[in-house]
């Protein structure tokens, strides 16, 4: 409310300061704008491991912060060798759609050497008080996940992006959920959010009592996805989709996981609540132009001719929605799914940061399927 002495309409550009001067540098930047009223709704902590991820995180944060004003702290975990003081690049974030409107502040840290050990405490000192902490962990969850665990422990919302991680990282995440997470903490995955239009479109088939009967007769779920580069026979996205479906239908996982080879893929036999077998098939479907692991087709079918299918047209964002089921009218429809870009997903996550039970269920179901020995 106080008038600043040297108010300008443009704050100083990002400046590099020692970490203990970061807070006063931010205050100076706001003062230079006349110390306008500002709202803070969160701390968004993005942790990345290389420059490409760092650029990406900065870009995504810039995109979401106008909708969720607050403080962005981007941490690059640099080389574990070669100690150096932690430098912080400090600046204000402008709402790109409203030039001149500043909606948050950004702190970009490069942490290397032994400081990596203490990254959680480094971040903690920089958090804006009184508002929730959202941790967005980009890239692989490291083998020695202590930095992840320590930061996650301090966060209210934790999200990874499993399109960037190994399938075993689903197990790491699941372990965190079951062994450490607080009941109020929300754990999520950006890749999971990208599944929503597929889940929604599949669910729509069964809003009608006639087709619902078809679902209870279903004997197989086939998921086709664009080839992952790591040689996995499933993508994290397909795994989570299957986990969701199996959890919702209370399908049971056998005591011993044995993926049987199939043409272009693998199959796992689950069982339905009535004891009947249910086949889960993962098929590789090469569609250049798609993101790694993107779904291309989802088919639920039964032996008596029920078939419910979503199929991506080429590498587009258009799905054909078609099916056949005795006693039901299922006119073919064309659906468009939203672009799967990360900022959009991040925004969604921040819009509804509450604990996503559906995700936790899907993760719990799918993690054991890929616990080990899953590489082809």
């Amino acid at each position: 409310m106080e008038e600043a002495v040297t108010a300008t309409s443009v704050p100083p550009g990002p400046i590099e300061v020692p970490i203990d001067q970061a807070e006063s540098a931010i205050n100076r930047a706001w003062l230079s704008l006349g110390d306008p009223a500002r709202a803070r709704t969160l701390n968004l902590v993005c942790v990345c491991q290389n420059d490409a991820e760092l650029d990406y995180a900065v870009h995504a944060a810039r995109d979401v912060i106008p909708g969720h004003p607050g403080r962005v702290i981007v941490v690059k975990l640099d080389s574990p060798v070669g100690d150096a003081p932690v430098l912080t690049r400090v600046g204000l974030l402008e709402d790109v759609s409203k030039p001149g409107a500043y909606v948050g502040e950004s702190l970009v840290l490069t942490v290397r050497g032994s400081a990596r050990e203490h990254v959680a405490t480094v971040v903690e000192r920089l958090l804006a008080p009184g508002v929730p902490v959202v941790l967005w962990w980009l890239g692989d969850v490291p083998d020695e996940p202590s930095a992840f665990v320590r930061l996650a422990d301090r966060s209210d919302v934790v999200t990874v992006d499993s399109s960037q991680i190994d399938l075993t990282d689903l197990t790491t995440l699941h372990r965190y959920v079951t062994q450490r997470a607080r009941p109020t903490q929300s754990i999520s995955d950006i890749e999971w959010l990208r599944l929503r239009p597929w889940q929604e479109s599949l669910a729509r088939f069964f809003d009608d009592p006639a087709t619902l009967a078809g679902l209870s007769r279903a004997e197989s779920l086939e998921l086709a996805f664009h080839t992952p580069s790591r040689g996995d026979f499933a993508s994290a996205k397909a795994a989570l989709f299957a986990g969701w479906f199996a959890a919702r239908l209370t399908l049971r996982t056998p005591a011993t996981i044995r993926w049987a080879p199939r043409e272009n893929g693998r199959a796992l036999w689950l069982s339905r609540p009535d004891g009947q077998p249910f086949a889960l098939t993962m098929t590789i479907d090469h569609r250049p132009g798609l993101h790694e692991g993107a779904l291309t087709r989802v088919t639920v079918s039964s032996a008596v001719g029920d078939r419910f299918e979503l199929e991506r047209e080429g590498a587009s964002r258009v799905l054909a929605w078609r099916g056949a089921c005795a006693g039901a009218v299922l006119p073919e429809a064309v659906l468009r799914i939203g672009p799967p870009d990360t900022p959009r997903m991040l925004r969604r996550l921040l819009d509804r940061p509450e604990r996503d039970e559906l995700f936790l269920e899907a993760l719990a179901q799918a993690a054991p399927w890929f616990g080990g020995g899953y590489r082809s």
């Binding site: 409310m1 599949l202 669910a203 679902l215 429809a333 064309v334």
Partner: protein
């Protein structure tokens, strides 16, 4: 929607608020509302993937045009009126095939037979499963006519039928006085159950209006103060800068009280004054809202001149431009007695509000377009800090609905310096600055709610009835009393002197918004 509940894949996905498949039939599809609001809203719902695949939009109007022509008109209108431009061609290409058209007049049984046959085809080809949302975007005299014909043609499903639904959105105005509103209600209730009727008041679809509920019932610190012990009075202002925009014919029969106070302004009044509902659902919320109107102290006829003010604008200037008087507008009588401004002192007789006046006002051609609710708290009991404190005003909380939605709290603070000098300061919160994103248009929100069967943000029969019960006697008295000498305020000002007198009589002043 029991079927939805049983779908195991649906569980947990509902937070997305996706509409079930449905045929949306717009009566009056060649009209202004359809073009400016309804089709653009449906397009945006499609764009944000909130409409089910296989949803259908059927236009019904008397012009005998083909479906291609109807689609072309709506495409052009959407290009002009959509809130996000340019129109996404891909999204429009998916949306357009769902638009179809049936022509006919509202009183022609064969037209409804055609509509019925068409809807059966839509069910078979699109999978709309017999679900219907009829939107009455027509002049009000047709509301009951259409309802009657829908019933006769077998187009209304029973409210208890769980396998499909029929719902009707009714536009405003809902009657023009207590008698006509009751007659309309009776006519609709002959055909439809109350649970099938969605009386739209687009104010309730506004984000900032819903935020009123969030502000009151999502924060623990204000509610204890929200009562007669702490509040001196409340002012609700719905000020318009525009005139009647060529709608003289309509406005001559309406006036500011019917057009704004009976519906929009009373909605704001109810939301500000209601008790906390037991749940955020249609009946719980509306039960509490209507209690506010029931507690309004009726105005005895002899006090109407003292407790109300009306006005009509004369020539004036706004932003340097010369503005005509109301009586000079197109389709307005040169001797018109229609009020373009109305203000009232309203009292709510209940434990919370006894003795707290609510001053409400609305008008056209006022200085600025603004809708706000100002809650003025009582003053401090003792002024410790001398003269400067006596000059500070009591605390005031302003909830701004439009244009720049936000909340301002005024309080006293020490002015820097060696003396204890107090000044008023405003703490300002702006939605636009906090959440830099555009929210959905009110019609998008409300059409989606109707498709989902959520009537919380629609007016219930008893609310409308109570509002008319309060307002009708005032309108009747005004009609019988000698008219004030209109025009009595200049376009571009804050209204007539009688409105100032209305509050000054109580030793108060209107806030300058």
């Amino acid at each position: 929607m029991t079927t939805t509940m049983e779908n195991p894949l649906r569980a947990g996905l509902d937070d997305e608020r996706l509409a079930p498949p449905c045929a949306i039939v717009i009566f009056g599809a060649s009209g202004d509302l359809t073009r400016r609001k309804l089709v653009p809203a449906l397009y945006h719902l499609q764009l944000s993937r909130m409409l089910a695949p296989g949803s259908a939009v059927v236009g019904f109007a008397r012009k005998d045009v083909g479906v291609e022509e109807f689609r072309r008109e709506q495409r052009e209108a959407t290009a002009q009126f959509a809130r996000s431009k340019p129109v996404d061609t891909e999204a429009w290409a998916t949306f357009e095939p769902s638009l179809s058209y049936v022509h006919g007049t509202f009183d022609e049984p064969e037209a409804y037979a055609r509509l019925k046959a068409h809807l059966e085809t839509v069910d078979a080809t699109m999978g709309t499963r017999g679900n219907r949302l009829f939107y009455f975007a027509t002049p009000p005299e047709f509301f009951s006519v259409i309802a009657k014909h829908l019933k006769a043609a077998g187009l209304v499903a029973d409210a208890a039928d769980r396998s499909r639904f029929t719902r009707v959105i009714v536009e405003k105005p809902f009657g023009s006085n207590l008698e006509s509103s009751r007659a309309l209600d009776r006519a609709l209730h002959e055909v439809l159950d109350e649970s099938q009727i969605y009386r739209i008041d687009h104010y309730l679809g506004k984000e900032a209006v819903q935020n009123l509920l969030a502000f009151r019932f999502g924060n623990a610190i204000f509610e204890p103060l929200w009562r007669r012990e702490f509040i001196d009075h409340v002012q609700i202002t719905v000020a318009e800068e525009i005139g009647i925009e060529g709608r003289g014919k309509f406005y001559e029969g309406a006036g500011a009280t019917r057009d704004i106070i009976q519906n929009h302004l009373f909605q704001l009044l109810m939301l500000v004054a209601m008790e906390p509902p037991s749940a955020f659902d249609a009946d719980a919320v509306r039960d509490e809202k209507v209690k506010v109107l029931r507690a309004l102290r009726p105005m005895s006829r002899d006090r109407i001149p003292e407790l109300t003010a009306r006005g009509q604008y004369g020539r004036g200037t706004l932003g340097g431009g010369l503005l005509p008087a109301y009586r000079e507008e197109q389709d307005v009588s040169p001797n018109s007695r229609t009020e373009t401004y109305a203000a009232m002192r309203v009292e709510i007789e209940n434990w919370r509000w006894q003795g707290v006046p609510f001053y409400i006002r609305t008008g056209k051609r006022l200085t600025r377009r603004v809708t706000e609710i100002a809650v003025r708290f009582k003053g401090i009991p003792v002024a410790l800090f001398g003269r400067s404190q006596a000059e500070t005003a009591p605390n005031e909380l302003v909830l701004r609905i439009q244009p720049d939605e936000g909340i301002t709290l005024r309080f006293a603070a020490k002015q820097p310096g060696s003396h204890m000098v107090l000044r008023d300061v405003n703490m300002d919160f702006r939605y636009g600055a906090t959440w830099g994103r555009t929210s959905a248009d009110a019609y998008e929100r409300l059409i989606l709610d109707a498709l989902l069967g959520d009537a919380t943000l629609f007016a219930r029969d008893d609310e409308v009835d109570e509002a008319w019960r309060y307002v009708s006697p005032i309108l009747e008295a005004w009609a019988e009393m000698p008219a004030p000498s209109f025009p009595n305020y200049a376009a571009g000002t804050w209204g007539p002197a009688s409105a100032e007198a209305l509050v000054e009589r109580d030793g108060r002043r209107w806030r300058r918004p």
